[in-house]
């Protein structure tokens, strides 16, 4: 039986969403297979690591005092001795060797590549995208710059850092003036639509930038799309890709903000962090669907995604022009609701993702990472040529 560590929580604005994703569907589906020894590894908002099987049950986190319960437990330590081992320190250390890690962290320190870097160092297979793709996709500006460079349509945008803006905002405001309103002002690193404002005229602009800068040190201002149709496409795979259905969120509020995404109409037992306000598959016609699918695959490959990702699109309803908006490397609840409607059950999804993680890890191990040289012996001697 393989031992899987599901890592969730973390120092992120999406801490709580991560707890939900970890359980619905990841841990629940892993449980349903009956084939895995599941270790929930929870990182508190302060950054402390705990692992206890009681946390396999979502009910644990519904206790109002769960943080106090955890504080009474021993924090775990990690060992990177040829793989990842969880250690509960004590007179006789309790150790659990992990075969595959299933990261379930949204946002900073988790989805942004930090955790992936740690797991690479530990030499343990892990589910989802690797460090480089994660770091790029986490930055909405980098994503757009790279995609634009590769010829993928993205909406016109302006990007700047907090320091540059505070030093002299004029050149940025001038650039922004060339964009067509309405505009969207976004912190580049945050997911779940946190800190995003829709700006209808120039009077609201600076205030919106202030809000975004409150959350992030880099801000993106981009054009809104007319007659907007938003769609999203979950994808899994390493080399061969499998697409879920093109989904159209039918949110009531103009902006798909955190509350609309996670709270309104939520609480559905089977939906995880996603609510029922979406159309699966989106009725946007075969042609647009095909275009979205092709662009989705292209984007996935350009960014070097592996395992799982979700590509979000903006479609101009009148011109039918499709723009890639952003890429989400750990879609909330893996978008299991969509996969289920596309014929992939939660169990099949997590099992496949673990197999993909092992496949990528095996390929990675075949690469040569070291190089023998006599450079050290020559240090301090004659100048190295």
């Amino acid at each position: 039986m393989k031992t899987i560590a599901v890592i969730f929580g973390g120092r992120s604005a999406e801490h709580d969403v991560s707890i939900i994703t970890a359980h619905i569907p990841i841990i629940d589906s892993l449980k349903a297979t009956g084939n895995f020894d599941i270790w929930p590894v929870y990182i508190t908002k302060e950054g402390d690591w705990y692992a206890d099987k009681a946390m396999n049950d979502m009910a644990f986190f519904k206790q109002p005092n769960y943080e106090a319960v955890l504080r009474k437990q021993k924090k775990i330590q990690l060992s990177f001795d040829n793989g990842l081992t969880l250690i509960w320190p004590g007179l006789r250390n309790k150790k659990v060797k992990i075969d595959v890690v299933f990261p379930s962290m949204h946002g900073t320190y988790g989805e942004d590549g930090s955790l992936m870097g740690l797991l690479r160092m530990a030499k343990v297979p892990f589910v989802g995208c690797d460090m480089a793709a994660s770091a790029v996709a986490m930055d909405k500006a980098f994503t757009k710059q790279i995609l634009e460079h590769e010829g993928v349509s993205v909406v016109p945008f302006v990007v700047f850092t907090k320091t540059d803006y505070e030093k002299d905002k004029k050149p940025f405001l001038e650039k922004i003036a060339k964009l067509n309103y309405p505009l969207f002002v976004k912190p580049v690193h945050l997911g779940s639509s946190i800190g995003i404002t829709k700006v209808k005229d120039v009077a609201q602009l600076e205030n919106a930038i202030e809000v975004a800068l409150h959350y992030d040190d880099k801000v993106l201002v981009e054009e809104g799309v007319e007659n907007l149709i938003e769609v999203t496409l979950p994808i899994i795979g390493n080399d061969e890709l499998k697409l879920a259905s093109v989904e159209r969120p039918l949110n009531k509020s103009e902006l798909f903000d955190f509350n609309a995404k996670y709270l309104s109409g939520g609480g559905k037992k089977s939906g995880g962090v996603n609510n029922a306000y979406s159309e699966i598959p989106a009725s946007i016609g075969d042609e647009l669907t095909r275009e979205v699918q092709e662009l989705g695959k292209k984007t996935y490959k350009i960014l070097g995604c592996a395992g799982i990702a979700r590509v979000d699109f903006l479609i101009d309803g009148s011109t039918k022009k499709v723009f890639v908006n952003e890429v989400n490397l750990l879609p909330g609840s893996l978008y299991a609701h969509n996969w289920k409607k596309s014929g992939v059950s939660g169990v099949e999804l997590v099992t496949k993702l673990i197999a993909l993680a092992e496949e990528r890890f095996a390929a990675e191990q075949k690469l040569t990472h070291t190089f023998s040289s006599d450079i050290l012996t020559k240090v301090g001697g004659p100048k190295v040529q």
Partner: protein, 479 residues
């Protein structure tokens, strides 16, 4: 620790008493059932699994009496030890202390028996009053007996006849003399039709109920191995159910012609009903699916096109009985069609529910008999274009035939081509597995230790378009 020893010690745990009372309660205070369960039980700490003790006044009284009894027993043992002078006082002490759980378990039997004794005269008076009241009642009385399908038949009759007539029937499983009497006490007197389900637990039960109800029309839904644990022999079951036929004599009796055991004992004048018709009425173009069942009933030039929301062709038989009785009572074709159109699945009996993800769950948890399983497997097999899941802990009370019956269920599932079978680990599911293997089952079998584990796993196993059948419940008595 050795499990035998651990099980033995469980009798000395404070929870033991609660377990005994729970067993008595779940056995509906029937001494025979309580004792059978007691003898079967090994670990008394794991008795309450599916349900928990309901703290009724009766249960609380038994708890108090049991705890009191235990304290008295220990006090007695201590007294013997302290004041006794002969050497065997130690033996008595040990015997009482060690034997206390057993003395208590059988002491409870005495209490239950005394309770029964006190209840008898009261019960007699209640039943006698109901009997007299019912005799004066002008309504038509229909009695339903059989090992399975009684409630479905009752509900169909209620719906179809109830569309135009004033119909009344005892709710739930009120099918004992006391249950039926309490229903009769509440009758207003203006009901046109009364429908009674007759429960058979022991020989003579149906005869007693007939004496109480005095039915004008009878329906025998079939005979099978349900409750075989109590009857030991299916012939006994049949004889008990056919006490209804004995009572009715020349009065109309409908018999389910699809049930072999019932069919064999039919007499001239009895009316057969099957999915192909009843009496001179013939069924044509019967079709079924997740949306319901439709068919045409033809009697010479007369034709009825009906549509029911009930699922499965096995429902056609009971529906045509209802149509037949309705027509004899003078209901028009239109009224009958309207009545059948109103019939829909009853709670926990092949009741479909579709969730937001497009998975249809068929709750058939009250179906606990081999004929019901056959019918529902046949229905599942007719659903094309769906991936089908069959979830079962097996059937209870199948007595000595349990191995054969469960192997047959396995074979049926394999032949029906059900894609996924989820088995809950019980004493009988290995037989279902063996049956599946005998027929070279090519689908997937998934095992779960508990039904609840399976239920929580299912949303993660299914995809849009799947149909999941939840068959039978597994009460604690049979753990």
């Amino acid at each position: 620790m050795n499990s035998t020893l651990k099980n033995f010690i469980s009798r000395y745990h404070p929870r033991y008493i609660r377990s005994l009372v729970y067993m008595a309660q779940q056995s509906e205070y029937h001494i025979r059932d309580y004792l059978a369960w007691f003898w079967r039980t090994r670990d008394f700490l794991r008795v309450e699994q599916r349900k928990t003790l309901v703290k009724t006044p009766k249960a609380l009284l038994l708890l108090v009496l049991s705890f009191g009894g235990l304290i008295l027993l220990y006090a007695f043992a201590l007294w013997v030890l302290l004041v006794g002078v002969v050497w065997w006082k130690y033996l008595v002490f040990l015997l009482v202390v060690l034997g206390a759980p057993f003395i208590l378990a059988y002491g409870l039997v005495v209490v239950l028996f005394l309770g029964r004794l006190m209840q008898w005269p009261v019960e007699y008076l209640l039943v006698d009053y109901a009997k007299r009241k019912l005799q004066a009642h002008k309504g038509l009385k229909i009695a339903i007996a059989g090992s399975f399908g009684k409630t479905t038949m009752r509900e169909i009759l209620k719906t179809v006849l109830g569309a135009t007539k004033k119909v009344s029937a005892p709710p739930g499983s009120y099918n004992t003399p006391l249950g039926i009497s309490s229903f009769i006490r509440g009758l207003k007197g203006d009901e046109e039709i009364l429908i009674f389900e007759m429960g058979e637990y022991y020989k003579g039960d149906i005869q007693h109920l007939c004496a109480l109800v005095r039915p004008d029309i009878g329906i025998i839904t079939g005979v099978n191995e349900a409750h075989l644990e109590k009857f030991k022999d299916v012939e006994q079951t049949r004889a008990t159910i056919f006490e209804l036929a004995d009572y009715l004599g020349d009065k109309p009796l409908y018999i389910n012609g699809e049930n072999e055991l019932a069919r064999k004992y039919t007499h001239a004048g009895n009316i057969f009903y099957t999915r192909t018709g009843v009496g001179k009425w013939k069924v044509e173009r019967a079709q079924t699916g997740l949306q319901g069942t439709s068919f045409t009933l033809r009697n010479g030039s007369e034709e009825l096109s009906v549509r029911s929301h009930l699922l499965g062709l096995h429902q056609v038989g009971p529906l045509v009985v209802a149509a037949h009785i309705a027509s004899k009572l003078g209901l028009t074709a239109e009224q009958i069609e309207k009545g059948i159109d109103a019939s829909k699945p009853f709670e926990h009996r092949l009741e479909p529910k579709m969730d937001a993800q497009g998975v249809t769950t068929l709750d058939d948890s009250y179906n606990g008999n081999p004929d019901g399983v056959r019918a529902v497997t046949e229905f599942l097999s007719s659903l094309q274009g769906h991936r089908r899941w069959y979830v079962t802990p097996g059937l209870v009370e199948m007595g000595p035939k349990k191995e054969e019956i469960h192997k047959e269920i396995g074979r049926q599932l394999a032949r029906a081509g059900i894609e996924k079978v989820i088995l809950i680990r019980t004493s009988v599911t290995p037989f279902i597995f063996a049956g599946l293997q005998e027929e070279n089952y090519s689908g997937e079998v998934i095992w779960f230790d508990k039904a609840l584990d399976a239920f929580s796993a299912l949303p993660n196993l299914t995809v849009k378009g799947d149909t999941v059948l939840l068959q039978n419940d597994w009460p604690d008595q049979y753990a």
